[in-house]
């Protein structure tokens, strides 16, 4: 056990010694997450609308008045349909309305009337949501006689605050990336520097060495996570913490070991840092893909849905979201803990034996 602490503290010291490395890791946990959180906004926001009004009437103005901040920028008039298209081609305008000359007349007469809408669909998600918004605005605008009220609640995140969510997702990706790369490099460094032989000749249990080395990196990252929560997520983005903070830390630690297991595997198959960089990306990309971070699992192809059961990141992301936003109790978190732990054990043991063979 003493050996564990010796190796452990040596690795921590090595890490602290490199000012550049410490700064880069700090950057990853602060600035990087801040940029991701501050910059990402997926719901329509500042959408620029252009319009051509051939109807010349009040109805068009009334409709347009519903498009306002923060989702939309005050619509911009264009003289002709052609000018409007041109602006959309240059990505200066995202959505264009064309009010035809008989637009208002037909409406007043009780006939159906067409509102032509041009949408830049290269940004499909924004366009779709804008279209849905538009539809709802028009429904509302028609002033239904039926006094129906839709009482809508956005649970867990009242303002649909995207910033804190993106920052959290980014944090989870940073955790994965850093643990895998740092763990792998701790071992591969020794191969490159020639200290590997010396390590082999130490009269200590190699298992302890592997355990201590990987634990040290998990700890470094865990400290980074806490800093990130304290300095970025909570103060800058008001991320809610509806569940237990300690549940999250425990989940992070467990997840840390499953990532470290991947790191050990990468270390076993790489000869130098260059290979570590490439292998890690190639291995991590499918994991991130299968985690549901970008696409909800149920919307995936069934094959991928089944495969995603093997991505520890999936349990980690779902579990973390539940802790932060849904405030899920520990009992209901058990599936996530179970998934992360089970995969953690499997991955860590696999990486452990794989690198252990080199000892």
């Amino acid at each position: 056990m003493k050996i564990f602490f010796i190796v452990f503290s040596k690795e921590i010291m090595s890490f602290m010694r490199s000012l550049a490395l410490v700064s880069v890791v700090l950057y990853a946990f602060t600035v990087d997450i801040y940029i991701a959180g501050a910059g990402m906004q997926i719901k329509p926001r500042n959408v620029i609308i252009g319009y051509v009004d051939y109807s010349g009437g009040g109805l068009s103005k009334k409709i347009l008045s519903h498009f306002h901040q923060p989702a939309f920028i005050t619509p911009k008039p264009f003289l002709s349909r052609q000018k409007l298209s041109q602006a959309i081609f240059n990505k200066e305008v995202l959505v264009g309305f064309i009010f035809n000359s008989d637009f208002e007349k037909a409406y007043r007469k009780g006939q159906n009337t067409n509102l032509d809408v041009l949408i830049d669909a290269t940004a499909a998600s924004q366009s779709l949501t804008t279209l849905a918004y538009l539809q709802n605005i028009i429904f509302n605008f028609e002033k239904l006689k039926i006094p129906l009220k839709i009482k809508s609640h956005k649970l867990f995140n009242q303002n649909a605050d995207n910033h804190s969510f993106m920052a959290l997702t980014e944090l989870l990706s940073v955790i994965t990336l850093l643990i895998v790369i740092l763990t792998a490099i701790v071992f591969v460094k020794e191969k490159e520097d020639g200290t590997w032989d010396i390590m082999l000749l130490m009269p200590v249990n190699p298992k302890m060495v592997i355990l201590a080395k990987s634990t040290s990196q998990v700890l470094i990252v865990t400290v980074g996570v806490i800093l990130s929560l304290g300095f970025v997520l909570f103060p800058a983005f008001n991320t809610p913490m509806n569940g237990s903070f300690w549940n999250f830390i425990l989940l992070t630690l467990l997840y840390g070991f499953s990532s470290a297991g991947i790191g050990l595997f990468v270390a076993a198959v790489s000869k130098d840092v260059m290979q570590v960089a490439q292998f890690s990306i190639v291995i991590m990309m499918p994991l991130i893909f299968l985690s549901g971070a970008w696409t909800p699992i149920y919307a995936m192809n069934p094959i991928f849905q089944n495969l995603s059961l093997f991505s520890p990141l999936r349990y980690y992301i779902e579990g973390s979201e539940s802790i932060f936003y849904r405030g899920t109790s520990f009992v209901d978190l058990l599936p996530y803990f179970g998934g992360v732990t089970l995969l953690g054990i499997v991955l860590y043991l696999y990486g452990f034996t794989k690198i252990g063979k080199l000892f």
Partner: protein, 373 residues
């Protein structure tokens, strides 16, 4: 320019890439990212799980339920569980939304009395939450519109939205995402490869060969850049083939523009990697720094997730700092729009890309020191 010297260094770099088997990664990584994310990222919400609690069980409430059942946007389940247990289901992430239709909903509606439909959406993933909410409202409203027409409650006409989705008629996610991914891939993969090329020599000591010989800084950088440039140039074509044949993304613009812009863009990514390599003293620092500084902006400012035009002030400025924004504008044009060289904006952006390459390469040359520290 000593061409022989550059050639010698290039030959060496090629051999090293080949013998360390990194060449496999040069071709595996970009295609893998493109294919995985091309299939993986879905911005559109479909099959959202909706729990409908129908306390009315009237004709209208059933009409409403069936409207939810017959759309690709929702996977609706109708059950009679209590409001609390439905909310618990959201908490456990077993459903995305709950719709509660009150009892005597139909009666009130027809009487013109006030009635209220409760909607609860899981907004833990806010974007999806908002979208689901909008869709649910839209579905309910359209039903109400139908009913009011039927019952003759409205005298005015109806506004029909006649939308034309420019460039992407079918609103396919692939068309919107895959070209943007090319911009991400060609930023990340070349940069990570070159980021280690110089710092590796610094750590090993072979950098002395550069210090002590008469090869100039520019020649050295060029010799490091060219082999990877040549190898990655092939990826321009490979990625094109994936996009057009695997993902069925239309290609409406000029292939020549696509090619030339991509080559230029790769040069920028490579020069950026080299710049990191010049600055960093340790390989690990170079790796982590490059990944951090390329992947995030690569996604953020690629236009995949949100159009640059709708970003806030600060993000707007940041977006303009990264090459990916300019490149992706051109790439989306070549795939989906097809203005080509006739657009002055594209020409302007090409000039900016050229400027970026020139600046990054010069910065690398300036910061590279041909002496020990």
């Amino acid at each position: 320019m000593k061409l022989n010297v550059i050639k010698a260094y290039m030959k060496k770099e090629f051999k090293e890439l080949y013998r360390t088997k990194l060449i496999i990664m040069v071709y595996l990584m970009p295609s893998m990212i493109l294919i995985l994310f091309g299939f993986g990222i879905r911005m559109d919400v479909s099959h959202a799980r909706v729990q409908i609690i129908d306390n009315d069980k009237s004709k209208i409430s059933q009409m409403l339920s069936s409207k939810f059942e017959h759309t690709k946007y929702f996977n609706a389940t109708i059950s009679n569980i209590s409001e609390n247990s439905a909310l618990k289901k959201i908490k456990q992430a077993k459903t995305d939304a709950v719709i509660i239709i009150p009892s005597s909903f139909e009666k009130n509606l027809l009487k013109g009395a006030k009635s209220e439909i409760g909607v609860f959406v899981d907004a833990a993933f806010p974007t999806r939450g908002t979208t689901i909410e909008t869709y649910i409202q839209g579905t309910i409203l359209s039903l109400v519109q139908e009913i009011s027409k039927e019952k003759g409650l409205s005298q005015k006409g109806t506004i029909l939205i006649n939308n034309r989705n420019l460039f992407n008629q079918a609103m396919r996610d692939e068309d919107a995402i895959v070209p943007g991914l090319i911009g991400l891939v060609l930023l990340v993969a070349p940069a990570i490869l070159t980021a280690l090329l110089i710092v590796k020599e610094k750590e090993k000591g072979t950098i002395f060969n550069f210090y002590a010989s008469s090869i100039s800084k520019g020649e050295f950088l060029l010799a490091k850049l060219l082999p990877v440039f040549i190898l990655h140039s092939l990826n321009i074509f490979i990625l094109f083939l994936w996009a057009v044949y695997l993902f069925d993304v239309p290609f409406r613009g000029s292939f020549f523009l696509y090619w030339i812009a991509s080559e230029l863009y790769i040069l920028i990514s490579l020069s950026f990697g080299l710049l990191v390599s010049v600055i960093a003293k340790k390989q690990i620092v170079a790796v982590v720094l490059t990944i951090m500084v390329t992947i995030i902006p690569g996604f953020l400012y690629s236009g995949i997730i949100m159009p640059i035009s709708s970003m806030d002030g600060a993000s707007q400025i940041e977006a303009h700092m990264f090459s990916v924004m300019y490149y992706n504008h051109i790439i989306y044009d070549t795939f989906l729009i097809g203005q080509g060289f006739s657009s002055t904006k594209i020409l302007f952006y090409l000039a900016i890309l050229l400027f970026y390459f020139f600046t990054l390469f010069t910065a690398g040359k300036f910061l590279l020191k041909k002496e020990m520290r």
